[in-house]
Symmetry: C2
Subunit: 647 residues, 2 copies
């Protein structure tokens, strides 16, 4: 890294390549292309190009209703696979539906209603072949928690139900609007680290809530945080029921073992898929046979037979509860959307087909809007259930239809069978389901790769555990965005050196063989230059110059600094502050008798510099080069010819 | 741009340069250097390095009290210049002080108090040689407006005054903390465009408020928005006083002419600097001589003689008004800080000396904290007054001391002279002062350079005019940050082509001579890859591949795509989502039989890829090159030798 002029041989440029001004484009063109990149980055209308209008009409219909695309090609062979997988996920969906509804403080039957209508809607509108639709644990938890803060589900169950349906309506409306306005990228702001921390926190919160049914406590806290729940558990030891605990413990071990088997041998997926239903049946039979409900074991009780009643008249879309249901809808909508889209994309990538995120949002949104008027609460594609669906060999959304039909049969004829199902088994099913959300290996990987992401993850995790679900999430998202802003506010500036024998210039810190070129300070700026970083960049460049001069003073190797070369290859954008930055920098360097040379400004940067009267001068040909190598070679040549002229 | 294989001759690499792994650094080292860049980017402690401890002590004292640095070197010659400039700014500060205090709904004398103590404090602590300290129009307006929304200055003047002092205290505390915690970069988030729009809007709001005194209206609205003010003006036509209007009009013309002269000939700066005081004197004499106060012209009235009374016992730092004063302090603090720092930096750049932003913040903050307990309201360095100071030839902060002494003399002996000063002249002085804040040429320049910045400016402008000062500002800042986030969320991906005869690769859209290399898709990504853009980048790269394949289908020139080269020179950072992105992309490309090749990953990117088990494979030597040229040359060579082997 020490400059040693004799050892550096800069290849002389035989020919200089000029920086061209970018081709002219109108403001309208630029706006159009920017809007396209922002909202239509996946170019969903590509297939319509160059088609006859009749074909376009057919394509449009298929675009809106994907079932029209795959439906005609559907075959009996595919149906066989879908029936198997549909029945498999139904056996999982029925006990989970009942459990998750209880998690949301809703009547258990609402969970089954929600596993009937939404899958049918999704089968028509959705484009994923693997998504298994139904209620999910985290959205259920959040909805139950947020609504319970204002309305008691036990004292005013009807109002609570109305608010749940209304929240579902808002969630659907919000999801569909995001998709329709092509604002789907908003869910990208939940980074992997945020989600892993959040999921783990939520899983623990959900599991702790199950202590109520697993221990048989009657006077349980209404709060969600880890502190009030644990204190509630230990202040009510006298309420613990040993029969419940025994039963819960046995079934929990059974379910966890089944889960373990399926995880070790993915071919045995049906073990964990069928286990919940088998447990429910065994537990119900046990309770019925032993009349255990008289021995401290609480049961679900009588459930109404029949299909979903209409509920559009129960929606409360105005009045004093509006802010509550809108906020609940927003949070549950975002969370369930994130899960649904992530699941859809994961399995699409595995099977190598495309899923249009924005279209999926519309499908999920419409499914929830329709759901809210047919007694369903918020639903989406669940990860665990979709994995079972995929493992069971599903081929299309028909597996959702099969599941819905199975649930329908259950609703119509099998409801009395659930009367003696003990609550404790539902708790065990929920704990087994959410335990998979705690992803320790992923957390370790994050720690290895990026410490700041790990911090974000911890914030999400502890925020959810100790503050609240929404605030934990908000803190983590805020921190992630703050990190991005800090990257812009404090962009990297790298000092480049020549790799001997080439005209390649690379980071002096990184490439130990790279050498400083005496008399040149070559800096690369690694971010757009804008209002947030111009002050910093000015100070940082001053410091680079001071450091350079101090170092050369020390080494007695008095090669005076003459040129400051800024490599702008990585400066993707410039704003008005950025233009002033170049103007000011040039003025400051002039005062120190240093020449400022720019290398490879990209189209937008070049254009903006040229548009400003005062910065235009920076783009004159002798101060602008296409590569660092050419700049150095040309400037060395000109100083040499100058000095020889002087002689 | 059309690929034409025969015409492309890729220079063959004689030697390949490998991408080196970055030198190992511990997490602690990285954290340290990141913290240094974030908080100490200007390296303020540089001067302490390698000094003896005695010298370090002296330097530390000089660092905290810059007066110790320049004081000992101060000479009589400098004093002469400072006395001239000090008297000049005093002649401006006295009428402006009275006027701005009225703008803040405070007793006029508070404006003079605020021109006495704070300049003295600043002279000891501040490092700018040109800053002229005192009350400023916009901070006065904001404070007056924000406090008046909750307390009426006419019905409860004592409470109002207490709240003003308390807000000043909070403003100072906030400013000093920002500087002390080295968070000064927060004010950078007010971009040039935001400030220009905001200043212009505020200038109009301030001018409209002066219609009260310029027209002599008594029942004026208490609101700030343009709509209520104009309706108040025209609903009270019967209150208009022709004597006031005549007098106001004449003096306004006089002051504007003086301003015009000084702007045309900077040497005549004293014309506009002295004009306000001259006008006040003439107007006061006129009123006194003609007993005009009996003919509809309102006057200031009796002012108390004497220096600043202590006011620390008037601060209300708790109780029900706390949120109000804290908020007011925050907003006025930020705004006045922004003005003060910008002024300091501007003149420092002109005279080629350094101003440490964070140290200035501490100085301004302490000045306001002390001010709040000596009957001063919020003060800072005003742009117009500092320009006069600079033009008058000030050499150091002594000009502030001279000004303070002049104000002191005024407070002690000359107060009775102001009794007959008409309010209308104060209105005219304010209008003349703020009219300079409307910077039309700068607005035009912004329109030319950056349309989005222009939009930000308009939002700030109309937000201030029609909504409120804080909300207009908040909208503009939000929009600026949104733009940065969008640049990250939708980063540029550029398709590179070879410039014939070289190994330079540049944007195909920009450089028309650049040519596609058949079989290669060479993309450059121009942003850090993180959670906010991985989904987009995946979709965008898929689209580039589809476009490439479609184009080559059309042209019948079936050069099948084999390699996707990603130039990562501009990818300054990577997070865990970014690592997954590479993993997923590689999987997707494998399925299409495409090979993914990375070029020039920077230190951090390289490091993170290597730390992930699944992405590590991407950094194996045969898929990683130092330049695009070497990658293309080497891959072409390997495919040729493969095909010749097959033959």
């Amino acid at each position: 890294m020490e400059p040693n002029p004799s050892s550096i041989e800069i290849p002389m440029a035989t020919e200089l390549h000029r920086v061209a001004p970018p081709p002219p484009r109108t403001t309208f063109d630029k706006l159009k292309s920017r809007l396209k990149e922002t909202f239509f980055s996946d170019d969903p209308l590509r297939q319509f190009k160059g088609q006859s209008s009749r074909n376009q009409l057919i394509l449009a219909a298929q675009y809106i209703f994907p079932i029209l695309e795959w439906g005609p090609k559907y075959s009996l062979r595919l149906l066989k696979s879908d029936v198997v997988s549909g029945l498999t996920i139904a056996s999982l969906a029925i006990p989970q539906g009942i459990s998750y509804a209880k998690l949301a403080n809703l009547p258990p039957i609402v969970g089954l209603y929600s596993s009937f209508v939404p899958p049918l809607i999704y089968a028509v509108l959705g484009s994923s072949r693997d998504l298994a639709v139904g209620p999910v644990s985290i959205a259920s938890l959040i909805m139950g928690d947020m609504l319970r803060r204002e309305v008691s589900p036990s004292q005013d169950p009807i109002l609570f139900l109305r608010l749940a349906f209304s929240s579902t309506f808002f969630a659907g409306l919000f999801q569909a609007s995001l998709g329709f306005l092509r604002l789907g990228f908003i869910i990208d702001f939940l980074s992997k680290a945020t989600l892993i921390g959040f999921m783990a926190g939520a899983a623990i919160i959900v599991s702790l809530q199950q202590l109520k049914s697993l221990l048989g406590i009657k006077n349980f806290t209404k709060k969600m945080g880890i502190v009030p729940v644990m204190s509630s558990v230990f202040h009510n030891i006298h309420e613990w029921s040993w029969q419940t605990i025994l039963m819960g413990f046995c079934f929990l071990v059974l379910l966890l073992m089944a889960r373990h088997i399926s995880m070790r041998k993915p071919k045995l997926f049906w073990v964990s898929a069928g286990a919940p239903l088998v447990c429910v049946i065994i537990a119900t039979l046990l309770v019925f046979a032993m009349k255990a409900q008289n021995h401290g074991i609480t049961i679900i009780g009588k459930l109404q037979e029949g299909l979903n009643p209409p509920s559009w008249n129960m929606l409360r879309l105005h009045g004093s509860y509006l802010p509550l249901v809108a906020k609940t809808g927003l949070v549950t909508g975002i969370i369930s959307l994130t899960e649904g889209i992530a699941v859809g994309r994961t399995f699409a990538a595995l099977k190598n087909y495309q899923v249009d995120g924005n279209k999926e949002m519309i499908a999920i949104g419409l499914m929830n809007i329709v759901g809210s008027s047919t007694s369903c609460y918020v639903t989406t594609g669940a990860f665990s259930r979709s994995a079972v669906n995929h493992n069971a060999g599903c081929k299309s959304a028909v597996s959702n239809i099969v599941m819905a039909v199975t649930v329908m049969v259950t609703l119509l004829f099998l409801m009395p069978l659930f009367q003696y199902t003990p609550n404790v088994i539902l708790g065990a099913i929920i704990v087994t389901a959410v335990i998979g959300l705690i992803d320790v290996p992923a957390a370790c990987e994050i720690w290895r790769i990026d410490k700041f992401d790990f911090l974000v993850m911890l914030c999400a995790f502890f925020g959810v555990l100790f503050i609240s679900v929404e605030q934990g999430l908000a803190i983590a998202v805020g921190l992630s965005i703050f990190k991005i802003l800090m990257q812009i506010t404090r962009p990297k500036t790298i000092m480049l050196g020549n790799i001997p024998g080439t005209d390649i210039y690379r980071d002096l810190q990184h490439y130990k063989e790279a050498l400083n070129v005496p008399g040149f300070l070559i800096l690369s700026i690694e971010a757009p230059i804008n209002f947030a970083n111009t002050t910093y960049l000015k100070e940082r460049i001053t410091r680079w110059i001071q450091d350079y001069e101090a170092e050369n003073d020390d080494s007695k190797n008095k090669s005076q600094l003459k040129f400051v070369i800024l490599d702008l290859s990585a400066v993707s954008a410039l704003d008005t502050n950025g233009v002033s930055f170049f103007k000011d920098l040039r003025m400051a360097l002039d005062k120190k008798n240093l020449e400022l040379v720019l290398v490879n400004p990209l189209g937008e940067v070049m254009e903006k510099l040229q548009r400003s009267d005062e910065a235009k001068e920076l783009t004159r040909p002798d101060g602008l080069f296409l590569t660092v190598g050419e700049a150095v070679a040309s400037l060395l040549l000109s100083t040499k010819s100058n000095s020889s002229n002087c002689v």
